[in-house]
């Protein structure tokens, strides 16, 4: 996993609540057995005017001019500004894979669905929770200033606006450490392999029917 330390990135706004993972990556693209290549189909039903299917050349498809992320000013954005309950619904990790493949490395929102939130960390995406009042200001500033960028400093746990205001954000210490170092969860857990084996052996005696 790529480490996340400091990000100085262009911001794109998606001003709606309850954006579900079906919207982030529609089901027809889940038939892939790969982890990559989902970016061109991220937000497919909102982003294009035609119906997308796997294998289509997305550069040739008609784009929806009313979809905010299609505006040229947001091309190359790395930070996605969202509202409440982002990533609800299906557990599909294809959603963070698609966002990452589209270029997003961090998300700023009021709240996230639990499984999506977790899946982001497994892929080096930083989902940041901010109070609604801060988000309201950020939405207004992004709208008013083309080329609007934010600096995210994970070690310091701050999001810094162009006007210098630094907004603090919370994060679990363990998750922070993993992201800062780009650690692989499985490798970390396997350091405790002996404890897992001992736990399992005890369980096998106490509840043998679980191991039939």
């Amino acid at each position: 996993m790529q480490a996340f330390t400091l990000l100085d990135g262009l911001v794109a706004p998606l001003d709606r609540s309850n954006v579900d993972t079906d919207a982030i990556i529609p089901k027809q693209f889940l038939k892939s057995i790969k982890r990559s290549g989902f970016g061109p189909n991220c937000f497919d039903e909102w982003r294009y005017l035609d119906h997308g299917e796997p294998g289509m050349d997305c550069s040739q498809r008609p784009k929806n001019p009313d979809f905010v992320l299609n505006q040229p000013r947001y091309a190359g954005a790395e930070i996605l500004l969202v509202r409440a309950n982002f990533g609800c619904g299906s557990s599909r990790e294809h959603a963070p894979w698609a966002l990452l493949d589209m270029g997003f490395k961090a998300i700023l929102g009021e709240s996230y669905a639990d499984i999506f939130f977790n899946n982001c960390f497994k892929n080096g995406i930083l989902p940041i929770v901010l109070p609604k009042a801060e988000l309201d200001e950020l939405f207004a500033q992004v709208d008013a200033a083309p080329g609007y960028k934010l600096v995210i400093d994970l070690a310091a746990q701050t999001v810094t606006r162009p006007d210098g205001k630094a907004i603090p954000f919370p994060i679990d210490p363990f998750r922070k450490e993993c992201l800062l170092n780009g650690w692989d969860d499985i490798g970390l857990t396997l350091r405790h392999a002996d404890e897992i084996s001992a736990f399992e052996a005890k369980r096998r005696v106490e509840q043998p029917w679980l191991f039939a």
Partner: protein
């Protein structure tokens, strides 16, 4: 100290805990399907790792599989879409290479939706941790198990370590006391709960459902309620174990046998919240207040009683919520204040991990019996949750009732709940669906989904519009 059911399940699976509360949690049962597992198996292989405990794995193909035209002689060649076929064949190859306690491949007599086949084969037991790369894994909490959906990286983590890294959630108790009215079902209970607390109401919580109306439900009904805990934002939903739980599990294929059974039942009887246990949040509903529910929008929280009307965004004071309602009405092609019972439907879908079990099919058949699909309804799909459910329904003659009513009787699978296979809505079609998500495009691009119970779906099928099923009894 008095413990909640969630405390008991959590504490009994903690292998190790970090200073910040992050725990290594042992996983007893790993359910696997074709869509969210290929990248995990590949990751395992690339890292040169072996699965930790093969006997924890129970696998099936369900999301991509067709629900008609099965031909055993042709095997997976029956699947017309080549990339769907590749995914199903990849699961076959991975399970062949790795192994499993049980595998129900495409067209196997026990194949079906992963959340139907787990319990019906006794692969889900009280006191277990149960995970699957699918958000509706919350279903299995009906058996007093700690069960939740995970992403593909976590599928790989469980394969490699038999554990997950996670922090304990907050606890929520939702009680439904009283007696449900005739025609009101588990689906209506859970839709009413989501309507009350919202789709993010359970975010960060594990929910225990309790109260006399929950205890009075069959295991099928409890599964329907826990299934949609995720639609209220909670990764896990659960119900205490009792005689209903044990009676359901007795003599299932993978259930404990002989002396193990007695020991297991003695343990299972301890799986309830203790008297006086503290919850972080408590929500109370009265069963008598719950009416048959119909969703009107593009989020499960956008729900009203069948006797109600489409709400008016103008009455909503919060700007973000108001614009969400306006966008939902536009997408759904609905006008504010329209009576729900005046909304016509084009398609009816009876199936999914929420409502495709035998009791659901019986409820739909009771309404369909002696009636015909309305001429204005283009098609009605009845998709049993598994091969075993299908055979049971056929033994009871339900297939004949459905066919006589002009409904299509299909092979088991996820089908039009998420429309990964060929079963999907055409743009603009309006569907009364017993599934769990009414998101934009969920059942097909620009399709319009209204979530209802199986009896309400059958009632819409025979009248051509949403109809209070209580009129039929």
């Amino acid at each position: 100290m008095a413990q909640t059911l969630y405390d008991k399940l959590w504490n009994s699976h903690v292998v190790h805990q970090e200073a910040d509360g992050t725990a290594i949690l042992y996983i007893d049962r790993h359910l696997v399907h074709e869509v969210t597992s290929p990248q995990a198996f590949e990751g395992l292989k690339l890292a040169g790792r072996k699965p930790w405990r093969i006997s924890s794995i129970v696998a099936t193909a369900d999301h991509n599989t067709p629900t008609e035209g099965w031909d055993a002689a042709r095997g997976t060649a029956t699947i017309a879409d080549p990339i769907s076929r590749q995914q199903v064949e990849t699961l076959d190859a991975n399970i062949k290479a790795v192994g499993a306690l049980a595998y129900f491949p495409f067209m196997n007599e026990r194949q079906g939706i992963v959340h139907v086949i787990g319990p019906e084969n006794g692969a889900t037991l009280p006191g277990m941790t149960v995970v699957c790369g699918d958000s509706h894994t919350s279903t299995h909490g009906a058996f007093a198990a700690l069960s939740f959906g995970i992403g593909t990286s976590e599928v790989e983590h469980v394969l490699a370590t038999q554990t997950l890294l996670m922090k304990k959630s907050k606890s929520m108790l939702i009680t439904v006391e009283g007696t449900l009215g005739a025609g009101v079902t588990a689906k209506d209970i859970v839709l009413a709960i989501i309507g009350k607390i919202g789709t993010a109401g359970g975010t960060g919580y594990a929910i225990e459902f309790a109260g006399s109306a929950i205890r009075g439900l069959t295991m099928e009904g409890r599964m329907t309620v826990c299934n949609m805990a995720i639609e209220a934002g909670a990764r896990a939903g659960m119900v205490a174990a009792d005689d209903t739980t044990c009676a359901y599990l007795k003599d299932r294929m993978l259930s404990p046998k002989a002396a193990d059974w007695d020991a297991a039942v003695a343990y299972w009887k301890t799986l309830h919240s203790d008297e006086g246990a503290q919850f972080d949040r408590v929500v109370e509903l009265r069963a008598e207040d719950i009416q048959p529910q119909v969703t009107w929008g593009t989020s499960p929280e956008m729900v009203v009683a069948v006797t109600g009307r489409v709400p008016d965004p103008a009455a909503e004071s919060d700007a973000t919520r108001r614009s969400g309602m306006e966008r939902a009405l536009q997408y759904m092609g609905l006008t504010a204040n329209t009576p729900i019972s005046e909304i016509p439907v084009d398609v009816v879908f009876i199936g999914s991990c929420t409502n495709s079990r035998i009791e659901d099919l019986r409820a739909a058949a009771a309404v369909a019996k002696g009636r015909r699909k309305a001429d204005s309804v283009k098609r009605v799909l009845v998709v049993p949750g598994s091969g075993l459910v299908k055979r049971q329904a056929e033994a009871e003659g339900l297939d004949k009732i459905f066919q006589a009513a002009g409904f299509e009787w299909r092979e088991p699978g996820c089908s039009m709940c998420l429309a990964m296979n060929a079963d999907r809505l055409e743009p603009g079609e309006r569907c009364a669906s017993t599934s769990n998500r009414n998101f934009e495009g969920r059942q097909g691009p620009n399709g319009r989904t209204h979530l209802v119970s199986p009896a309400m779906a059958a009632a819409a099928a025979v009248t051509g519009h949403f109809t209070d099923v209580r009129q039929f009894s």
